[in-house]
Amino acid sequence: MTTRLSGKKMAANITTIVAVGSFAVAGVAAIAVDLAATKHVAAINSATRNDDGTVPNSGTSQGNGYSGGSVQSGNGGAISGRSSGS
């Protein structure tokens, strides 16, 4: 009996450790996302417009990968949505 209780207690402890670890990983991921977003915003804002509408050649925002490969060619599969102006 004592052995079974110890086993349950050990299992509970393991569960707790795993849960805490998961939250820690989630926290790190959230921070990473925030940092990435901040980087994107900084890069985007660095390309401001001159009075004549041209973009200054700051050279600081080349290829920051903002779009993150958001879109690729279609594959002919069933259409799930349509993007048009509203």
Partner: protein, 324 residues
């Protein structure tokens, strides 16, 4: 095989597609709830919306709900990302141009007389003070100078799509694609063939089928939709914040793909406002976009794919000009 539901809201088509057909009905309910909440918080056409109720107090600061605070913050983010091309303080300008009710009541009239297009250069425009930098949200206290009225419409719609897709995926453990008048957000798992999206503004415009990456989003801004007559001129709803008048329609439409619908919407709107200069800007910051000009020619930036499988269905005279 998934399933989808569609309905009309805010004068546009809303739809939700889910990877599990059995969840289509509950997904629709979840999306409708999200939209109802945002409408109640931020509508500028409902006298009972939170935004209109607190309007008299905004000059001195008013306490706002977490949802309205999020919508205001999102609009200010969009303004910052676009250097003010997207400005949430254009409500009064929009009212002055006649867009002071639901667009259905204002009489949406796509394809109206091009010759009477109102442009900044034709109306002796007076420079307008950009308002977004004067909007302050500190905690839950929102302050807006009395000269301005908030119009959160575009960014609120995008946030709605983002929130609705995330809610459906989180609550029901499926993949979801939510479309609000063509502003698309996805979340959760993807169908076997990926999220396939058809990009096209009006039926006569060039069409392209693309695959949207899981969890990513897309938005199209158009100068051909949400048009109405005002003082004998045809208006469209995307205003140039420098003048408070419809932006010069050098593009029929601009479509942007991005990690969130808010970002996609901000840059598609800014693409219209900034005109030709937007192409260089987007290439510089690597924004995936598809511009369609007045003659139906397509310009791509930031890794947007060339036309592929739907070439045979492309309508006439729609060559791709260049790739970023």
């Amino acid at each position: 095989m998934g399933a989808s539901k569609s309905w009309t809201v805010w004068g546009l088509e809303a739809s939700v597609a889910v990877t599990d057909p059995a969840l289509a009905d509950v997904a629709e309910l979840a999306v409708r709830e999200v939209l109802a909440g945002i409408d109640a918080a931020a509508s500028r056409f409902r006298t009972d919306s939170e935004l209109l109720r607190i309007q008299p107090c905004l000059a001195t600061g008013a306490r706002v709900s977490p949802l309205l605070a999020q919508l205001v913050e999102s609009s200010l983010n969009a303004a910052q990302w676009t250097d003010g091309d997207v400005d949430p303080t254009l409500g009064r300008d929009m009212d002055a141009l006649g867009y002071d009710r639901d667009i259905v009541q204002v009489r949406l009239s796509p394809g109206a007389a091009e010759s009477q297009e109102v442009q900044a250069t034709e109306c002796s425009p007076r420079p307008r003070t950009p308002g977004w930098r004067q909007v302050h949200l500190e905690g839950d206290i929102l302050t807006v100078p009395g000269d301005f009225r908030l119009d959160l419409g575009a960014t609120a719609k995008a946030v709605a799509a983002d929130k609705a897709a995330c809610r459906v995926a989180a609550e029901w453990g499926c993949g979801a694609l939510v479309s609000l008048g063509g502003d698309i957000a996805t979340a959760g798992t993807v169908p076997a063939t990926g999220w396939q999206v058809l990009v096209q503004d009006l039926p006569a415009d060039p069409v392209q089928q693309v695959t949207l990456k899981a969890g990513h989003a897309m938005a199209t801004s158009s100068t051909q939709k949400r048009r109405w007559q005002h003082a004998g001129h045809t208006m469209h709803h995307i205003l140039d914040p420098r003048f408070g008048l419809p932006a010069e329609p050098v593009w029929r439409s601009v479509t942007v793909a991005a990690p969130s619908c808010l970002q996609a919407n901000a840059f598609s709107t800014a693409g219209i406002v900034r005109g030709y200069a937007a192409v260089e800007w987007f290439r510089k910051v690597d924004i995936a976009a598809r511009f369609v000009d007045r003659r139906g020619r397509v310009t791509l930036t930031g890794g947007w794919p060339q036309d592929g499988c739907l070439d045979s269905r492309t309508s006439p005279a729609k060559g791709v000009m260049a790739d970023g």
